[in-house]
């Protein structure tokens, strides 16, 4: 549960000294993090600290300019084949859902398995319905995203990512665009997923989720991890003053 058991051999994700620049702006400054199989890591930190940039480098939505990122033994380089293999193993859930509005819920979920994994329609449809069952909205299959509530849309987005049978799930503030009662229904799905043994990196400020589910919490500031540890320890006795300040702000 702590840093020591994430030995590089079994690591699902290994980031070493990752740097990223947007033009002149140095957004990531040597992030080093290794995530074990089945581990749930929560990433926190002030706005603009590079949390999104970091998890987006893991599936190459952003390119890193220095350092190494290895996902399930595949190194993320300019090799297009590696990028494609990593993308199909890493699922991502966005703050703004990004469902495809011109497709029904079911089509949103089946499109990638059919077009990327070349699965046939029947099988993809069957898996999609099971996933909708799992995210607790089986009755919404034939609706369009515009007809669903935010919480339902985000659960469809989770199902859509899961349909590719990813080994890792990345969440970028999945609940920040939601009303409180919808936050709960999305978090429940995420807790289930964590319990099922999925490797997860979640950017979120949901303290209860972090406390109950996360194996580790990373605290980001100014493009790097300033403090990292089990939630119980990090929340009760933060060492770094930036962490203390941030926690005192979100706990009130």
């Amino acid at each position: 549960m702590s840093q020591s058991n994430t030995n590089p051999e079994s690591a699902m994700i290994q980031c070493v000294d990752v740097h990223k620049w947007y033009g002149q702006f140095h957004a990531l400054r040597g992030v080093t993090l290794s995530v074990a199989r089945g581990e749930v890591v929560v990433v926190m930190g002030p706005s603009g600290s590079g949390k999104s940039s970091f998890i987006r480098t893991i599936n190459r939505l952003e390119e890193h300019q220095r350092g190494t990122i290895i996902v399930d033994g595949i190194e993320l380089t300019h090799d297009v084949r590696n990028i494609e293999r990593i993308r199909s193993e890493v699922g991502m859930v966005f703050q703004s859902f990004n469902l495809f509005p011109h497709l029904t819920v079911l089509e949103n979920i089946t499109l990638a398995p059919m077009r990327v994994r070349k699965m046939n329609r029947e099988r993809a449809g069957k898996i999609a319905r099971e996933l909708l069952e799992r995210v607790r909205i089986p009755e919404q299959a034939d609706k369009y995203p515009g007809q669903l509530s935010g919480g339902q849309q985000q659960r469809v987005a989770i199902a859509r990512a899961l349909a590719m049978e990813p080994k890792v799930m990345l969440f970028d503030e999945p609940t920040s665009a939601l009303d409180p009662e919808m936050i709960k229904e999305v978090l429940e799905v995420m807790v289930d997923l964590a319990k099922s043994g999925m490797t997860m990196i979640c950017v979120t400020h949901e303290m209860n989720f972090a406390r109950n589910v996360a194996h580790r919490v990373c605290f980001f500031d100014q493009g790097n991890i300033v403090e990292m540890g089990p939630p119980a320890k990090l929340f009760s006795t933060p060492e770094h003053e930036r962490t203390q300040l941030f926690l005192s702000q979100i706990l009130h």
Binding site: N59, L61, E84, R87, S88, V90, G91, M92, F94, S96, N98, L99, F100, P101, H102, L111, A112, R115, V116, Y144, G146, Q147, A157, R160, A161, M164
Partner: protein, 329 residues
């Protein structure tokens, strides 16, 4: 709340009355203007002893038409000549719309790529087309380019297509079998041969309109939130798949209305075919007018045909736009 509904609004304060009144007034003005202009025209024609009517149509035309998809000789009548022009226009417009869409899509996507050279080329091409009058471009294209293509004996072959200054030969279905064109001496054998004039007007219109369609498509794609493309890439779609399956279907909503007006432009612009010597509806009509003096009738019919074609195109595109509309709550 309910008692306000019951009190009758005096008609001079009722917005619904205003709406009806404005429309009635508008229709009355339009009809009055129409009646006045038409009456004026009829009396002018009567004063000059010019007859009006379509009795001249079955008369022998007596002129040749270089390009025709129908049976036509100099001894055919005006109606047949007119039909030849109509078919020529419809062919140029419909084939032109299909080809301009294809090349426009390519141009639009090329302008969006991160490949510097390709996107620059697309921008330069678009800018040139946007800043040159179509008539000038067509004449340049016909005289400067199509005229100076290689001689038929040295015809350029682009895949199965043969290009020369005597026309362009493309593979075609003849008697149920695909026929590939070859050069036999001074002529093409097999396939379908486009005259230099047909090739010039068709390719000229396509090159010109594709630049505008490219802009329409580029703007439509840029209107789609970046997150859609990112979500597609994160699911493992390739860049092309993301565009084809996710971005373009959504962009269509934004694209279709301006795309429709580009289709209409192409159709109407085909009336410049005379500049490259292609006998379209308008150029044949001008010949008929010169020979018969029946300008009013001919122009009324020609305008009616362009109007009908445009309305049918618009209707189809509206129907299609409704079909791809997003379903919201």
């Amino acid at each position: 709340m309910s008692d306000t509904k019951k009190t009758r609004i005096p008609i001079w304060r009722d917005e619904r009355a205003y709406a009806v009144l404005a429309q009635v007034a508008f229709v009355v003005v339009v009809i009055a203007a129409g009646v006045f202009l038409f009456g004026n025209l009829l009396s002018a024609l009567r004063r000059q002893n010019i007859p009006i009517g379509f009795d001249f149509l079955p008369t022998r035309a007596g002129f040749d038409i270089s390009d025709s998809f129908l049976e036509y000789t100099a001894s055919s009548n005006y109606l047949q000549a007119f039909q030849v022009g109509l078919v020529n226009t419809l062919v140029v417009a419909s084939v032109g719309i299909v080809l301009a869409s294809v090349f426009g899509l390519i141009t639009g996507l090329a302008g969006l790529t991160h490949n510097f050279i390709i996107s620059r080329l697309a921008r330069v091409y678009t800018e040139i087309m946007r800043n040159v009058p179509l008539l000038v471009f067509l004449v340049f294209w016909y005289r400067g380019i199509v005229f100076n293509l290689p001689k038929i004996s040295e015809a350029l072959s682009i895949g199965p297509i043969l290009v020369s200054n005597r026309g362009v030969a493309i593979p075609w279905l003849l008697e149920g079998a695909l026929s590939l064109p070859v050069v036999r001496g001074r002529i093409f054998d097999g396939g379908f041969v486009l005259s230099p004039e047909l090739f010039a007007i068709l390719s000229g219109l396509v090159i010109y309109t594709a630049a505008f369609i490219g802009e329409v498509i580029r703007a439509g794609v840029q209107a789609i939130p970046r997150g859609q493309f990112e979500a597609a890439r994160a699911l493992g779609f390739t860049g092309m798949q993301s565009i084809r399956l996710i971005v373009l279907p959504q962009a269509l909503r934004v694209i279709i209305p301006p795309l429709t007006s580009q289709y209409l432009n192409l159709t109407k612009n085909s009336s410049l075919a005379a500049a490259v010597g292609y006998p379209d509806l308008w150029s044949i009509s001008t010949v008929i007018i010169n020979q018969t003096g029946r300008a009013v009738e001919m122009i009324a019919v020609v305008m009616g045909i362009y109007l009908t074609t445009s309305l049918l195109t618009s209707l189809f595109m509206n129907w299609y736009n409704n079909k791809v509309r997003l379903i919201e709550r």
